[in-house]
């Protein structure tokens, strides 16, 4: 599986990035300036490809969060009163600049996170660009509403920004997840204090460097540092009007508790254990559709499985189980695990040592609880300078839905496969999980796909496709996967207040007093 790409290419990429203006050290981006952390401390971000350092970032403390909030509050009123047309114009310019720097951002993201360069080039960055354009269009086209209450009374509804909002971004799609949150917040006229994950701050800092000047100082503020310290200082702060968080469930619950004090809204996206359901008729012919379906099975390896919607449970109809799994496992075996900077690499390293340790623990748990490992199951050894990288083999387990590897989110390239007999059983197994973020269904019979799609308790059911994330399709969770919807104009409501003016055009008293 190994390729001949070595350390020198990683160094070459670093050099390319530095030539393109990427710094070797980033302070916080506050009030339109680079501001050293009050702590005076920095931390080093490593590349998961070879565990070597790539850049320094501010190791901020709670005082830096306060500074960022000061800057945001200073411009809150002014930014909130800019016209939707002006805000839309700025969002379009942001999209253009990201697009012009797509290659630099894609390289930086791949180096920092380990995701294959073909994914950052073809998905993360183009989707980021499109997201800003989509919300530029949404805010430009948005209108308030009015109701004729009666002949003399009108209810006017105006949309207003919330003010200053806090956003905490995960490490799996460092820039795209930031775009999902930033674009609607800025479009709606809010100022933002945003915190990238400590594993992967590079692309968001580079984004601030590239587009910061397009926004009035203080509208966008980026603070780096340990989430446990500054994420908490942000989420529990009395000066935010809303908190948006993507991450694990205990922290999500804490954020809800914090928000209960100042009584502010939250949107939370907290993971999943998504079922991918394959009906027997997918094998009615050996054609393009079956080929697409087999790719749909292998998509658990997209972004090395570090996706909240990873199709980490596959449910295969019993009558085709053996012959389908033979084809599916063969497809998975073709996944090329290699240096993610190599354009032919299909799977890069896991994001960190902690992550690969956890994945290997789960694989051992799976084996011990009786799941059968059909392929993979080990660390991938690429040798040379990448021997220290966190590479995994894509892994397929066969077992029972009650097993821990079917119930707990592994967040790695591991799929657990089980059988079902009937549509009803597929729905029952599919819903037997605390989560409800994604799901997938594959069948040539649209009655099957519609029924499953409607009955699965998850925010999205991909039907004869998987892992596509266009702006305009709502994304968010049922059950323990959280609440709120992103990637759709409806999220503007999560970043806006509704002001109602209830106006009487009658000159007559009500007659009560």
């Amino acid at each position: 599986m190994a390729t001949a790409v070595n350390q020198s290419s990683i160094q070459d990429v670093l050099e390319t990035l530095h030539k393109a203006g990427v710094r070797s050290r980033y302070e916080n981006y506050i009030g339109g300036k680079w501001v050293p952390p009050t702590t005076g401390r920095y931390f080093v971000s490593q590349s998961p490809i070879n565990a070597e350092p790539i850049c320094e970032f501010a190791r901020s403390g709670p005082a830096d969060v306060e500074k960022a909030l000061d800057a945001a509050h200073a411009v809150r009123e002014k930014w909130g009163h800019t016209s939707p047309a002006d805000r839309a114009t700025i969002l379009l310019k942001i999209a253009d600049v990201v697009e012009q720097n797509l290659e630099t951002l894609a390289l930086a993201e791949t180096l920092d996170n380990g995701k294959p360069i073909r994914e950052t080039r073809a998905a993360d960055m183009p989707l980021t660009v499109d997201h800003f354009r989509y919300f530029a269009a949404c805010i430009r086209a948005e209108e308030g509403a009015l109701s004729d209450i009666d002949n003399d009374t009108v209810a006017y509804h105006f949309k207003e920004p919330l003010g200053v909002v806090g956003q905490i971004i995960p490490w799996n799609f460092p820039l795209l997840m930031a775009a999902w949150k930033l674009a609607p917040a800025l479009a709606a006229g809010n100022c933002v204090v945003i915190k990238p994950a400590s594993n992967t701050p590079l692309s968001l800092m580079l984004f601030a460097q590239l587009v910061g000047d397009l926004l009035p100082p203080g509208v966008l503020n980026v603070v780096t540092g340990p989430g446990g310290e500054i994420g908490k200082a942000l989420a529990s702060n009395k000066r935010i009007a809303k908190i948006a968080f993507t991450g694990e469930t205990t922290t999500g619950r804490l954020i809800m508790q914090y928000a209960s004090e100042p009584i502010i809204p939250q949107t939370l996206e907290l993971g999943g254990k998504s079922p991918n359901i394959f009906f027997a008729d997918v094998m009615d012919a050996d054609d393009d559709f079956l080929d697409k379906t087999l790719e749909g099975f292998a998509l658990f390896a997209l972004n090395k499985g570090e996706v909240c919607t990873c199709p980490s449970r596959a449910l295969v109809q019993e009558s085709i189980y053996d012959k389908f799994m033979e084809r599916a496992v063969a497809r998975v075996k073709k996944i090329k695990v290699a240096n993610p900077l190599d354009p032919t690499s299909m799977m890069g390293p896991q994001v960190s040592k902690e992550q690969i340790t956890k994945i290997l623990d789960y694989i051992r748990i799976g084996r011990e609880e009786g799941a059968q490992c059909l392929t993979g199951g080990e660390r991938a050894h690429l040798g040379g300078d990448m021997e220290n990288g966190y590479f995994m083999e894509p892994t397929v387990f066969a077992g029972d839905n009650k097993m821990r590897v079917f119930q707990e989110e592994i967040f790695g390239p591991v799929v657990s496969v089980t059988k079902f007999k009937t549509l009803e059983e597929a729905i029952e197994i599919g819903n037997d999980t605390p989560y409800g973020l994604g799901s997938g269904v594959w069948s040539r019979n649209m009655n099957n796909t519609y029924r499953v799609g409607r009955e699965i308790k998850a925010g999205r059911c991909w039907t004869n496709c998987y892992h596509v994330y266009p702006a305009g399709a709502a994304f968010g969770g049922y059950k323990e996967s959280g609440f709120g919807r992103e990637t759709h104009k409806m999220i503007l409501d999560h970043y806006q207040q509704t002001k109602n003016l209830l106006v009487s055009y009658s000159t007559k008293a009500m007659g009560f007093f």
Binding site: F43, R59, G61, I168, P170, W171, N172, A197, S198, G225, P226, G227, G228, E229, G231, K232, A235, T246, G247, E248, T249, T250, T251, G252, R253, L254, I255, Q257, E269, L270, G271, G272, E306, C308, S352, E354, T357, K358, D361, R364, I365, E368, E369, K402, R404, Q407, E408, E409, I410, F411, P434, Y435, E480, S481
Partner: protein, 114 residues
């Protein structure tokens, strides 16, 4: 439910120090997303334990360890090792500011359940 929770010397020392600083603590392990299936160390008066949380056992005489999701019976059967590693965590755990964080691992082969 009473799971065997083995605490490494480093974890025990850190917990002792954190208790002196923060008062009574608890561990809560949730699931999901980027930093899931890992324990958070929280002040007892900061985190509200709910009816769906399972008390797995005690880390020391007065520090409970709860599981918020997943398969408590299976986790308890295996037992846990509570350890500390260097690095920054995104989790809102009290040790986060110190550049270290707690991790939990299964007790491999420790419970006679092989």
């Amino acid at each position: 439910m009473s799971a065997d929770i083995e605490v490494t010397a480093r974890a025990a020392a850190l917990l002792k120090e954190l208790k002196e600083r923060h008062g009574a603590l608890l561990f809560h392990q949730g699931g999901g997303c980027c930093d899931g299936s890992v324990p958070l160390c929280l002040k007892q008066n900061e985190f509200r334990i709910g009816s769906r949380d399972t008390l797995l056992g005690f880390v020391d005489e007065d520090t409970p360890f709860y599981l918020g999701s997943g398969q408590p019976e299976q986790v308890a059967q295996r037992g846990l090792v509570l350890d500390v590693v260097d690095g920054d965590t995104e989790r809102f755990s009290v040790e986060a500011a110190d550049g270290v964080y707690f991790v939990s691992r299964p007790q491999w082969g420790a419970c006679g359940k092989e």
